[in-house]
């Protein structure tokens, strides 16, 4: 089914909003945060405001995703915000909202609904339950009743079946997935914030690691963590008077393709990361092509999702994965497309994808611990295989 034709000649976000500051808490293995989840949110937001050089009391909007528990009204009260003008939640589970929350916040600024929007995610899996475990209930109804009794209940199990089919259709080898894991872990070794800093991964360790669910070894899977991250969005004009070199939002979009939400694994285009409809719109709004992208942060719930996301964003043909996905191609500073330069969800912290957006901004600022030279276009893809998913592209002044 053809998607509605949209033109971004008017109404585009391109270049109208900038990321003025970013903030993160210390990142912890799940259960190890000494701080309550809401306190983590506050710490990340304060850090982001300090980074932006603005008073937290001037924040007048909040945007998050995946049913974040840190309610904007409580945040605004706790921070003494002078007013709350925008309180936004992107529907959908998983990390598919981490660039869509940015899109929503940016759209609010462009529309004049708010002036200073904080995009944030706080998640303490040690305090509220692990994502990687099945439900502990006696009975289940709805779509879960058709999968859970068959032992299909964790994210790895929900997505492996799509990846198996994609690998079957396109002859993708296990080594292509392995290259993604190796790149993430290598980048974490230069990032002192990373939970996996000091824990390098080599090919034989990957190969010998246990299966979680085929085709995912242990090292194909993200971590489960405690932490929070936040970003401050302001208008492009205002950003020019703030401390950081402006990191412009060139585009940001959330969505998914035809009937991606059909239940019990009945999405017609099944072996997909769900970006096929939004990727063309993303590039059109930004006015760039995949070849213009200098560095990519691609959400790893599992390596297979990264691979499929990169295919659907046009970085590689589906039948070319075995040649493209090598460690050398994916590592900073000289790889063909440096990937997940902070270590990402797999090796830095599973900050539900917002850490990837923070790293995408750092690459524009030139402050990554695995910095790519002369970055002008920095891209983030969020939450493959859930619905909706989202993506965004950041650019320097030179891209405007």
């Amino acid at each position: 089914m053809a998607s509605t034709q949209r033109s971004y000649a008017r109404g585009s976000l391109r270049g109208k909003v900038a990321v003025a500051g970013v903030g993160e808490t210390e990142y912890y293995k799940r259960g190890q945060s000494p701080d309550a989840e809401f306190k983590l949110a506050l710490k990340a937001i304060i850090a982001a405001c300090n980074s932006a050089g603005i008073d937290p009391r001037s924040v007048d909007g909040f945007a998050s995703y995946s049913d974040d528990r840190s309610d904007p009204s409580r945040l605004a009260a706790a921070l003494g915000c002078r007013e709350l003008a925008f309180a936004n939640m992107q529907w959908g589970g998983g990390g598919g909202g981490s660039s869509a929350a940015l899109a929503n916040g940016a759209a609010a600024i462009v529309a004049g609904l708010a002036d200073t929007v904080v995009v944030f995610r706080a998640l303490a899996q040690g305090q509220f339950g692990r994502f990687g475990q099945g439900p502990r209930v006696n009975t289940i109804s709805g779509s879960g009743a058709h999968t859970v009794p068959h032992g299909l209940m964790s994210p790895a199990q929900m997505f492996a079946m799509k990846v198996v089919r994609f690998m079957h259709d396109h002859g993708v080898e296990q080594e292509a997935l392995r290259a993604i894991a190796l790149a993430c872990y290598q980048h974490a070794q230069s990032n002192p914030r990373a939970v996996m800093h000091g824990r390098p991964l080599d090919e034989s360790t990957y190969d010998a690691s246990r299966w979680i669910v085929e085709p995912f070894h242990l090292f194909d899977c993200c971590q489960e963590n405690d932490g929070a991250a936040a970003m401050v969005l302001v208008s492009a004009e205002r950003a020019r008077d703030l401390p950081h070199k402006p990191c412009y939002v060139l585009s940001a979009i959330g969505g998914s393709h035809y009937r991606a939400g059909a239940s019990v694994h009945n999405t017609p285009d099944y072996a997909s990361s769900n970006f096929k409809s939004i990727a063309p719109r993303l590039y059109e709004m930004a006015g760039v092509t995949p070849r213009d992208v200098d560095v990519l942060q691609s959400y790893e719930n599992f390596t297979g999702g990264v691979l499929m996301s990169m295919v659907e964003h046009g970085f590689v043909e589906p039948d070319g994965c075995n040649e493209f996905f090598t460690k050398d191609n994916l590592i900073a500073p000289d790889g063909a497309l440096p990937l997940n330069t902070s270590g990402g969800n797999m090796a830095e912290c599973y900050m539900h994808g917002l850490g990837l957006n923070v790293e995408g901004v750092r690459q524009i600022w030139g402050t990554s611990t695995a910095q790519v030279a002369d970055v002008n276009v920095s891209m983030v893809t969020s939450g493959p295989m859930v619905t909706p998913v989202s993506s965004c592209i950041y650019g320097t002044e030179a891209t405007l």
């Binding site: 099945g134 009743a145 009794p149 790895a156 079946m161 799509k162 085929e214 019990v264």
Partner: protein, 148 residues
């Protein structure tokens, strides 16, 4: 009670309280696969919904369908994510496509050796797995390779 593929202790399926999928679950208990079909355009859809996604008719009913199909995808699970599966060892989940019901897909387990090679496209036939003594009595539809 028939043999159970997975160790007991996982959440037991119960029909939705709004009745949308009751005919499916009661059918399985009788050894019948009932799937949702639009009375106006005559096409099957799955999972069940209150409207036909093709023609927007609200006139949907459940029709018995022969439980056979072909493997669309599969996965072999090793890591237990629930205490009930701690001693299970590996198990196979298959996504089965039903060509005679507009290619709707069903999730089940593939019976037999959990470490058997699995072929996408292989033909399978349904096996009803009855759990009359469960907290909520129910039946599951499992799959085995078609015996030619």
């Amino acid at each position: 009670m028939t043999t159970s593929y997975l160790a007991p202790g996982l959440a037991v399926p119960v029909p939705r309280r709004d009745g949308l999928d009751t005919a499916y679950w009661t059918g399985l208990r009788d050894g019948v696969l009932n799937l949702q079909r639009c009375e106006d355009c005559g096409r099957f859809q799955w999972g069940p919904e209150w409207i036909c996604h093709r023609c927007h008719s609200f006139e949907l009913s459940f029709l018995p369908v022969e439980p056979r199909g072909r493997i669309y995808s599969y996965e072999r699970v090793w890591h237990p994510v629930h205490p009930a599966l701690a001693a299970q060892g590996p198990y196979l989940i298959v996504l089965v496509e039903l060509p005679h019901a507009d290619d709707v897909r069903l999730v089940g387990n593939l019976l037999g050796d959990a470490e058997q090679p699995v072929t996408i496209g292989a033909e399978v036939e349904g096996v009803f797995e009855h759990h009359p003594d469960a907290e909520a009595p129910h039946s599951l539809l499992q799959w085995r390779l078609k015996t030619s």
